[in-house]
């Protein structure tokens, strides 16, 4: 995936589409940003200057889909997460998870979320659940799986035509489909003809926390130097002056 931070306006459409696609419930009243479940979360970052020199940017952070040495895969005692050899997706299996949350500690991007409560939808709203994704119970960790439900649907469609390879246009994650500004792009990084691969090769392209060697598959880009510096910052949320 490639994300153009200079285009992101922080609207949150990606967060909404993700919650709808993946049957993520609304949280109880007592939830805050530490206990909520937001598989993709748009963080507000700034250049740490005082008003009016302060400038803001919005960085959508989701599971970075690390390479085969993903930290969460290493630490899971249940082997509830694995790296899919075919697609490279780091797949989280909540049904195997026992809820130790070791993976949440291991993940340097804070991209994993724990179900503190059983999912509860207001009466009638459970009719709007997506049948391609199973809801999770409390006590398990979940995270972005690159909308594998849509990948499955693309595979079925290809199989209907007798193909084993999916058509790339059929598999678009919900966040990418919903983004109104076109900041998010998705495709095959190994295929150099795709937009995503070309975006990743640009000079202003960077990945979050590259120096720790997680080899994430999400490539961000920005023309602004201070935004690129954020990638090396310890926490994407910035210092304590943020609203919260």
């Amino acid at each position: 995936m490639s994300i153009d931070i200079d285009k992101c306006n922080g609207c949150g459409a990606c967060m909404m589409a993700c919650a709808v696609e993946n049957n993520i419930p609304p949280m109880p009243e007592s939830a805050n940003d530490r206990k909520g479940i937001t598989w993709i979360r748009v963080y507000k970052v700034d250049n740490h200057r005082a008003y009016p020199e302060r400038r803001t940017a919005f960085v959508p952070v989701l599971c970075q889909q690390c390479g085969h040495d993903a930290p969460c895969v290493h630490v899971c005692p249940q082997q509830a997460v694995d790296v899919d050899p075919e697609t490279g997706i780091v797949g989280q299996m909540p049904e195997r998870c026992l809820g130790c949350r070791y993976c949440m500690v291991a993940c340097p991007y804070h991209a994993r979320y724990f179900n503190w409560w059983d999912p509860a939808w207001p009466a009638g709203m459970e009719k709007t659940l997506n049948p391609d994704v199973s809801p999770r119970m409390r006590g398990v960790v979940e995270k972005c799986n690159f909308c594998h439900g849509r990948w499955h649907a693309a595979q079925q469609k290809a199989a209907a035509a007798g193909q084993r390879e999916i058509d790339a246009a059929d598999y678009v994650p919900a966040c990418v489909e919903a983004c109104p500004t076109g900041a998010l792009r998705f495709g095959d990084l190994n295929d150099s003809s795709t937009e995503v691969a070309q975006d990743a090769a640009r000079p202003e392209s960077f990945r979050l926390l590259e120096k720790i060697g997680t080899e994430p598959k999400i490539h961000y880009r920005s023309q602004r130097d201070w935004v690129r510096e954020i990638a090396n910052a310890p926490h994407p949320d910035g210092k304590d002056e943020h609203r919260g």
């Binding site: 922080g10 609207c11 909404m16 009016p52 994704v133 199973s134 609203r243």
Partner: protein, 601 residues
């Protein structure tokens, strides 16, 4: 063998040992584990055939085209329609979760319909001389708006009230420089898909005190002191010197100079946060009239409808004159503060509001009648601010209303004695008869001239998700004077700050009304992305001065009243400003003067 306790224990022991050698306990353990996966009562998604159905979103006048993924007829997710010429397949965050609104726990589920009918009939019969019957239409421009207008024309002393309705449309594609005085161009203004499709064509100069989402993406942000927009306007047109403007607004001269230079590129457009306000006759001065600001066009209506009451502003209604007030709050739209409406009501006025939320006028009305919510609604969406050609699109209902609802158009038609007809069908037939324009059929994914379709086919296509768009070339261009009159509104005022109310109120979020899906908590509570309705943002300095910390419970107080809020500290908010989210409760409080204070509880 004697039955002693010891033997009994041995028997039990043998049983246990034997049981362990059978599959029973192991199977029971596994089964219990499987049972525990299901016992929390987590709902299972329903299965069924997956189909795409098309409609339009009614949550704002943009009316974006929507493709609903339906499982067995029930919409489970929404997305835009990519090839649409205006929407370009984009939906905003509210539109993406609109399909959950019918099940909102705070939705109004029942109302005193019979009592309301009786009370309204009695009030109409018993009204005195000069007492009026009024309909307040918060989303004018729809076909049902015509029904209200016709009803008020037929009724003696009928008044059709609306919030300010711009008689112009914005042609964003024609603009090369846009100067926005706080208008949330990238976050709630116009049609999102249209705005972002045109983004590469213009440079945006955003003029506002707080760095909003739009300001963050703008080419130039002018961080002015609140209320000094006129100085910027004058500086950019050269009426005052840059240095003087810099003193007045607090923006440095270099940035102002850069903004002025940027204005030289091509057609300019000025926007304000409130469409009823323009900084002087600015767009006329800039030569925007006829180029980027054009007359708003409406789809044809049947001839019989032309006898309709004109639109009146609430402020223009005589005081204490309205005996029956019917407020159509069924779609999120403009909001007129209750303090502006209340003086217009006669004593013993009967106020009926058609709404699905208790946050708006339901707080003040006597009779609250439940209406359908998107996507149950079957009506058309009025024109969007940034659509140049006339359009007609129906929000075809995707599900039947889940609670008993009242149709406000039928209600008003009945009390006025108008015949009950299918107004949408009549309008569609009138459009078809006019013979102009193109039918964009989402289901078939193609467009064709209206002339090539029969009236029945046209109606069917519109109901299955389809849009009629007029031919822009054939629309007559208006005279410049006509536009100038349409554009001038109230001038921007500087707030009168004083010690009691030292903070200027700035609205952070695009003005929304009505219900929003509980999933919006992801943006408001589960992340720090948006301000929720009960939160205000302050600068560190102002917070410290009042002993407020991040997350403190406070009271937001204005000359009109107070509200319990939670305060957050935001380094992007300058001193002297308090940032609030929209919503009826807030708008009722801060009024036109926009001054407030925040006090820790």
């Amino acid at each position: 063998m004697t039955t002693t306790r010891r033997n009994l224990l041995k028997f039990v022991g043998g049983g246990a040992a034997g049981a362990l050698l059978t599959p029973a306990p192991w199977r029971l353990i596994t089964d219990t584990a499987l049972w525990s996966e299901n016992w929390p009562g987590i709902p299972r998604p329903a299965r069924g055939e997956i189909r795409a159905r098309f409609t339009h979103c009614t949550l704002c006048p943009a009316g974006c085209a929507v493709r609903a993924r339906c499982v067995g007829g029930q919409p489970v997710s929404l997305t835009g329609v990519k090839p649409h010429p205006i929407g370009h397949g984009a939906l905003c965050p509210w539109g993406l979760v609109g399909h959950q609104l019918p099940y909102h726990p705070a939705r109004i589920r029942q109302g005193p319909v019979k009592e309301a009918i009786v009370a309204v009939a009695r009030a109409i019969a018993q009204r005195g001389a000069g007492e009026r019957v009024a309909v307040l239409d918060l989303r004018p421009g729809r076909t049902v708006s015509w029904t209200y207008r016709r009803a008020m024309a037929v009724m003696a002393g009928g008044l059709y009230l609306t919030p300010f309705q711009p008689a112009y449309a914005i042609d964003l594609a024609a603009a090369r420089t846009v100067v926005s005085f706080g208008a949330p161009l990238f976050d709630g203004w116009g049609t999102p898909g249209n705005v972002f499709a045109a983004r590469a064509n213009f440079r945006l100069i955003q003029v506002e005190p707080v760095e909003s989402r739009t300001a963050a993406l703008a080419d130039i942000w002018l961080p002015i002191r609140p209320g000094t927009e006129s100085a910027i306007a004058s500086a950019l047109t050269g009426e005052i010197a840059i240095a003087e403007a810099a003193r007045a607004t607090g923006v440095d001269e270099k940035t102002l100079g850069a903004a002025k230079e940027a204005m030289a590129a091509g057609p300019v457009l000025a926007l304000a946060a409130d469409p009823g306000v323009t900084p002087g006759n600015w767009n006329a001065e800039l030569g925007a009239l006829g180029r980027t600001v054009v007359a708003r066009r409406e789809a044809p209506v049947p001839e019989a409808w032309k006898k309709a009451a004109p639109s009146t502003a609430v402020s223009a209604a005589p005081d204490r004159s309205i005996r029956v007030l019917l407020i159509d709050e069924s779609l999120p739209g403009g909001y007129v503060p209750w303090q502006d409406i209340e003086p217009k009501l006669a004593p013993n006025a009967a106020v009926v509001v058609f709404s699905s939320t208790s946050e708006g006028y339901a707080r003040h009305a006597q009779y609250v009648l439940p209406t359908a919510v998107y996507p149950e609604t079957a009506e058309d969406i009025g024109p969007a601010i940034d659509t140049v050609a006339a359009v007609f699109r129906i929000a075809a209902p995707l599900i039947a209303p889940v609670v008993p609802v009242v149709n406000s158009g039928e209600f008003v038609a009945r009390i006025a004695g108008l015949p009950q007809t299918d107004a949408l069908r009549e309008r569609a037939d009138a459009i078809h008869k006019a013979g102009r324009g193109t039918l964009i059929d989402y289901v078939a994914a193609k467009s064709k001239p209206v002339k090539e379709a029969t009236a029945d086919d046209f109606w069917k296509a519109l109901n299955q998700g389809g849009c009629w768009m007029d031919d822009t070339e054939k629309q007559a261009a208006p005279g410049k004077l006509e536009l100038a009159a349409a554009v001038v509104g109230r001038p921007l005022t500087s707030p009168t700050l004083h010690d009691e109310l030292p903070l200027t109120v700035v609205t952070a979020e695009p003005g929304r009304g009505g219900l929003e899906s509980p999933l919006m908590s992801k943006l408001e509570r589960e992340s720090n992305l948006r301000l929720s309705a009960n939160r205000v943002a302050l600068s560190k300095a102002d917070a410290r001065a009042n002993g407020i910390e991040n997350g403190s419970r406070c009271v937001f107080e204005t000359a009109r009243g107070r509200l319990s809020v939670v305060a957050v500290i935001d380094a992007g908010v300058p001193a002297g400003v308090v940032e609030v989210a929209g919503g009826a409760r807030m708008v009722d409080l801060y009024g036109p003067n926009r001054t407030a204070r925040v006090v820790r509880v």
